[in-house]
Structure formats: structure tokens, C-alpha cells
């Protein structure tokens, strides 16, 4: 059985004029210990998806329909108390800004101790020892001294390590990390990613890594989902997606990277920009920016099909596959 399965998820934002769809028919699965990435430009819906998984999507957002199952438990049907249980112990979240999770007026040590004691009945002293051991585990130097410090006394990289330590304390099955290294320096980014990767591997924790950086993704995730305007448009093994992207949007994202053109040459830009929720184009939402768009793309929504490399929602790929199938039939 899949550890997590999201099926036909629709998430809306409520506005005075009308309901705006932020996620449309999103489905994917995550196995135990697997690491997947969600990529796409800003506004694609990556964070909304991350929040929705643990049903943390706040007003005016709400889950309109669909199912999110953690093994056999349906998360969309749970009450607040049951959800809180899941959020702490089974699914943990790491955000871009560690201060979203850390309390600025409590020492980091006390925050960790509080986390431990909220679900295990042990003495302060024992909890302190566990906390220090975890700080050590996430490679924080002199953890005894850091234990008594406040979040503002730590650098961004160290704060993110503390978050990872606190996540480890709960021993979750899934970590959802929303741009966990975007706010950090390159040298520190690499260290934090290595740490996250090692921790997931060593403890068999599954990871959902949300990122707009394909370089980051290629190092960590086995499978990648590409999002555009609230849809998943391509899904497949990370290596295949990077080496042989099928969807024109994925191709555009990869081609825009500076390393895809010779130094000094013009970069390949994707024309136009991500539409806002209120201005979602008809048919395939990517059509105004797509070099291959046809009349059909403007009118109909492409379905998700397996191309042989990855799963893609694009008429170009679908038509190509149909053509091959016809040729096959004629040959027989």
C-alpha cells in the first residue's frame, strides 16, 4: 500500500466574486522512504499543495473535493485533534523561513524539550539529554551552549538545522519541506540538503521537497512532479525528466537555465508569465506561452498519459503517441 495517496484533489480560494481554483485534479502517490520533488514557477501552486496535504490550507482556501490518504486514513475527513496528531508525529513540515516554526522568545533547547515532553512522559533532564543529542546529530557545534540560546542568536543555516532536529524528535514517516534552502547561502544550502538527504535515507523517512531550483531537486529526489497553474503537467523519475523532458513547460524551465546555453549567448526564455488564479486560460493553461499550441490546446484540457519516459498532460505528446500506435497497427 502507498504511504500517502492524493487523488483528484481540488483546492479553491473563496473570494467575493467567485471561487478561484488553486489546485485542479491533483493526484500522486508517495511510498515509504521515497523522495519526491515538486517544481514549478512561483504561483504554480506548490505551497498550496504542500499545505493541503496536512490539511493546513487556511481560510480563504479550502479543499473542495478529492482524497488524501495516509495509508488507510482519510485526512480530509479528520477533525482538528486527529489532524494535529498526524501533523506532529507522522507528517512534519519544514518551511523556507525557520522563524515560522521557531518561537523567538523561547530558547531553542526549551523548544526541543517541550516537543519531546508533549508526547513522551520523561523528566526535563532526560529530555534535555535527548535534545542535545539531536542537536549533535544535525551537526550543530557545541550543542550544550546552543541549547540555551535564542533563535535570533543563530544564523539562518543553524536555525534550519534546529528545525530538522525538532522534526527528527518526532520520528515522522513523511517530511514536507517547502523551499527549505532557498533563503540560505550556496555553501550552507548544500550542507543542509546533504543533512536532509542523509536523515531521510538513514531513517527511512519519505520526503516531499518543494523547490523552484532544478539543480537542488536533481540531487535529492528520485521522482519529480512539475506543476503549472494548479495542475501537475509532468511526473516521472527525476533523471528522465531532466535529461528528456516531455512537456513543453518542463522543457522551457530547463532550457532557461544559464548552463543550457554557451557562456555569453542569449538565454532561452519562456515568453509570458504564470497566470494568476483569476486569469487561468482555457484548455491547456500553458497554451498562451507554448510554442506548439494548436486550436485544440485552446479549447480542451489534455489528459494525463504515460509517454514511455514520464507521465505528461500535453496534446503534442498524445498526438505523437497516437501516430506511433497507428503506424504500429498498419505495420501489423
Amino acid at each position: 500500500m502507498n504511504l500517502l495517496s492524493v487523488s483528484n484533489l481540488h483546492v479553491n480560494f473563496h473570494t467575493k466574486e467567485r471561487e478561484l481554483a488553486a489546485l485542479i485534479d491533483v493526484s500522486f502517490t508517495l511510498n515509504r522512504g521515497e523522495r519526491i520533488a515538486i517544481v514549478g514557477e512561483s504561483g504554480a501552486g506548490k505551497s498550496v499543495l504542500g499545505f493541503s496535504i496536512v490539511n493546513l490550507i487556511g481560510k480563504p482556501g479550502y479543499i473542495e473535493s478529492g482524497s488524501i490518504k495516509l495509508e488507510n486514513k482519510e485526512l480530509t475527513k479528520m477533525n482538528l485533534r486527529q489532524l494535529q496528531e498526524i501533523r506532529g508525529k507522522r507528517i512534519a513540515m519544514i518551511f523556507q523561513d525557520p522563524m515560522m516554526t521557531l518561537n523567538p522568545v523561547i530558547t531553542i533547547g526549551d523548544q526541543l524539550v517541550e516537543t519531546i515532553r508533549s508526547h513522551t512522559k520523561i523528566s526535563y533532564k532526560d529530555a534535555r539529554n535527548i535534545a542535545i543529542e539531536k542537536l549533535h546529530h544535525v551537526q550543530i557545534a557545541s550543542p550544550e551552549r546552543r541549547f540555551n540560546q535564542y533563535p535570533h542568536e543563530l544564523s539562518g543555516g543553524m536555525r534550519q538545522r534546529v528545525i530538522i532536529a525538532s522534526v527528527l524528535l518526532l520520528n515522522p514517516d513523511i517530511i514536507i519541506a517547502d523551499e527549505p534552502t532557498t533563503a540560505l547561502d550556496v555553501t550552507i544550502q548544500a550542507e543542509i540538503l546533504q543533512l536532509l538527504l542523509a536523515i531521510c535515507r538513514d531513517n527511512g523517512v519519505a520526503l516531499v521537497l518543494i523547490s523552484h531550483d532544478l539543480g537542488v531537486v536533481s540531487k535529492v529526489a528520485e521522482r519529480t512532479l512539475v506543476m503549472y497553474a494548479g495542475h501537475i503537467v509532468e511526473e516521472g523519475p527525476t533523471l528522465e525528466i531532466i535529461n528528456d523532458p516531455q512537456h513543453p513547460y518542463t522543457q522551457g524551465l530547463l532550457n532557461a537555465l544559464p548552463q543550457m546555453t554557451l557562456p555569453g549567448q542569449r538565454l532561452n526564455q519562456i515568453q509570458g508569465s504564470m497566470p494568476s488564479l483569476a486569469e487561468r486560460p482555457s484548455g491547456c493553461a500553458f497554451h498562451p506561452r507554448c510554442p506548439y499550441a494548436t486550436q485544440k490546446c485552446r479549447e480542451q484540457q489534455p489528459r494525463f498519459i504515460y509517454s514511455g519516459v514520464s507521465s505528461v498532460a500535453c496534446f503534442l505528446v498524445e498526438d505523437m503517441l497516437n501516430e506511433f500506435a497507428e503506424q504500429d497497427q498498419e505495420a501489423n
Binding site: 514557477e41 512561483s42 557545534a141 544564523s155 539562518g156 543555516g157 543553524m158 547561502d185 550556496v186 555553501t187 550552507i188 544550502q189 548544500a190 550542507e191 540538503l193 546533504q194 523552484h212 531550483d213 532544478l214 539543480g215 537542488v216 536533481s218 540531487k219 527525476t238 533523471l239 531532466i242 522551457g252 524551465l253 530547463l254 532557461a256 537555465l257 544559464p258 548552463q259 546555453t261 557562456p263 555569453g264 542569449r266 538565454l267 532561452n268 526564455q269 519562456i270 508569465s273 504564470m274
Partner: protein, 336 residues
């Protein structure tokens, strides 16, 4: 032959962090002593920016990149050192004298949301600097120049009556660039102009900057933490660490043969688009805050090759055979 446009020598900048007189007194070994806390953001920077080149500055948070940019632009005064524009010294100018250079040198900031005035339309944003720097222009000439500029950065002239919030991040950054270009500068300082933007939008802005450089023989000082952008865009690269330049090299040389221990660690940490995870060189510890003026090499605390000399003596920049310059004792001594 490269012609120097901007020359910077021995540049230092210290910010005092306890300005008030009362907070400067401390008890120390039974005596009351006066003590000023300061942050040494720049500790002797020497750099030349040539005409028509892109000099990229890279380095971790807090190493002094933005401070360097601000000092060059005259937005803050240096504590020591000199800056020359062609053969004129520009670090000690009063506001009036600076006017001439304001027109020659422009700055583009990281955050396209904050750097444009939200209450001014694009037309107002551009007409102000154009008429200011060209007092002889008629209204029609100003309008004509605005239309031309907007078209050149890919914004339709008909949207000039719109406000910044009506544009996307990439469009706003292109408008910031149009504003910088509006006074026909020779030199543009861009401090992380891409980091608030998606890759696809970054490509638009970089393409525009390259086009303009070609058209006008512009020089750029380009600050970024994205090494893929550096590799693509830079003519030469300056690597900074704690307020000093530790390596300066032509781009291709820097990426194919990085020399300084910090540069090596920095390059090994870039997430690349392939799966064979090269083990990044782990740096011990994080960037210290430079509250003391450093003695010896600024990189000593994190350097695997540090020896006694590194704690005592600051390494000077030494020109290497392949055209790069490096400040490191281990390299000079042949230990590395």
C-alpha cells in the same frame, strides 16, 4: 586591451553598532573603558572594473558585497581607501560634485517590489530622471525617449500609465533597468537583481542586460550568489570573504581551475543538473561576523590548510601564471 573604468584601492568600511555615547562605556578589569562596537564590512578591497566588462562578485551572506556596491555608488562613505572613475577620485565628493557621476553610474536592486515607487506610474518613474539629466529636452523629446526605452526593455509603451503593482516581478525588474538606462550610464551596479525571480524570468532580465551591454559598451558590477549565472555572464569574477577579495580571475579560469581554498569549497557546493553527487567540500563552521578587524587571513577559522603564518599575517593578492590572482599563503608557499 582592457581600459579601466573604475579603480578601487584599499577600500575599508566599518559600521559602528553602538552609536550612542553612553553605550560605549564598559567595565573591563575593574576600570571603566570606552569601547566602540563595530562591524568591519570591508577590509581592504582592491578591484578594477574595465570598460565593457561584467565583473561578478560572489561570496556568502555578510561578506560585504552589498556594502561594496553602496560604497562605490556613493550611498555610504568608506572608512579608508580610494575609488576612481577614469582618472577622477569620486569617494570624497559632495552632493553637487557627485551629480555628474550619478548620471554615469546607476544601480539596480534585488527587490523589484521595493525599488520602484508604488505611487508613481511607469511614465512618471522614467520622465523624472530623463528631464532631470537632460534639462534642455522638450516634453515631446522626453516622451519619445520614454517610449523608446520601454520598447527596448520589452514593455509596451502603451502601458506607461500603469503603476508598478500592475506588473509582474520580471516586468518590474525590467522597468528598474529601464530607469537605470534612462540616464545613459557607462556603469551599472546590480545587487542580486535576479534572486527574487523565477528561472524563466531571470532569463528575460539577463538577456536584456546582455543586449544593452553590447549596444552601449556598458560595464557591470554584478552581485549574485548563483554561480551558473556567473559562469554564463561574467567576464571576470571576484570572490569575496569577510570583507576581502580572496580570488580574482577570468571566468573560465575560475571555474576550470579554482585556487583559493574558499573558492574551491564554494564551487564544489553548486547543485548541478546531474545526479553524480560530487561530495561538496565541507566547510567547518559558518561565516563569522567581523566585529574585530581581522588579523591574518580572513578565512583562517574555516580553512583546512591554515598554519601559524595564516593567523599572523594577511596574505596579499599574487598574480598566477593563468591570469588569476589569489590571496593565500598556502598557495604562495606551494603547500597547495
Amino acid at each position: 586591451m582592457a581600459t579601466p573604468l573604475i579603480q578601487i584601492s584599499g577600500l575599508e568600511k566599518a559600521f559602528s553598532t553602538n552609536e550612542s555615547w553612553f553605550s560605549q562605556w564598559r567595565f573591563h578589569q575593574g576600570k571603566l573603558k570606552r569601547h566602540k562596537d563595530s562591524v568591519h564590512a570591508l577590509n581592504g578591497v582592491n578591484l578594477t572594473i574595465n570598460q565593457g566588462e561584467t565583473l561578478c562578485v560572489v561570496g556568502e551572506t555578510g561578506c560585504g558585497k552589498s556594502t561594496l556596491a553602496r560604497v562605490i555608488m556613493g550611498l555610504t562613505t568608506p572608512s579608508a581607501g580610494e575609488i576612481h572613475y577614469l582618472d577622477q577620485r569620486i569617494d570624497q565628493l559632495n552632493n553637487r560634485q557627485r551629480m555628474f557621476f550619478r548620471r554615469r553610474m546607476q544601480m539596480v536592486f534585488q527587490n523589484p517590489y521595493a525599488s520602484l515607487n508604488p505611487r508613481m506610474t511607469v511614465y512618471q518613474t522614467l520622465s523624472e530622471p530623463i528631464s532631470f539629466h537632460n534639462p534642455q529636452f522638450s516634453q515631446a523629446q522626453v516622451d519619445e525617449q520614454i517610449d523608446e526605452l520601454l520598447e527596448s526593455v520589452g514593455i509596451s509603451a502603451s502601458s506607461s500609465d500603469r503603476y508598478p503593482h500592475e506588473f509582474s516581478g520580471g516586468q518590474r525588474q525590467r522597468i528598474s533597468l529601464a530607469r537605470a538606462l534612462s540616464v545613459e550610464p557607462d556603469f551599472i551596479v546590480a545587487d542580486e537583481p535576479l534572486s527574487a525571480l523565477d528561472v524563466s524570468v531571470q532569463a528575460q532580465v539577463l538577456n536584456l542586460m546582455m543586449d544593452k551591454q553590447e549596444e552601449r559598451n556598458l560595464s557591470y558590477l554584478f552581485i549574485t550568489h548563483d554561480l551558473a549565472v556567473v559562469e554564463h555572464f561574467a567576464t571576470r569574477v571576484a570572490v569575496m570573504y569577510l570583507g576581502r577579495v580572496c580570488e580574482l580571475a577570468p571566468t573560465r579560469t575560475l571555474f576550470s581551475a579554482p585556487k583559493h581554498p574558499y573558492t574551491r569549497a564554494l564551487l564544489s557546493a553548486i547543485p548541478r543538473l546531474d545526479s553524480n553527487i560530487a561530495q561538496p567540500i565541507r566547510l567547518i563552521g559558518e561565516v563569522p561576523t567581523p566585529t574585530e578587524k581581522p588579523i591574518g587571513c580572513v578565512f583562517q577559522a574555516r580553512c583546512p590548510y591554515a598554519n601559524q603564518r595564516c593567523y599572523e599575517q594577511s596574505p596579499a593578492m599574487v598574480l598566477q601564471n593563468d591570469g588569476s590572482s589569489v590571496a593565500c599563503h598556502a598557495i604562495e608557499e606551494g603547500r597547495l
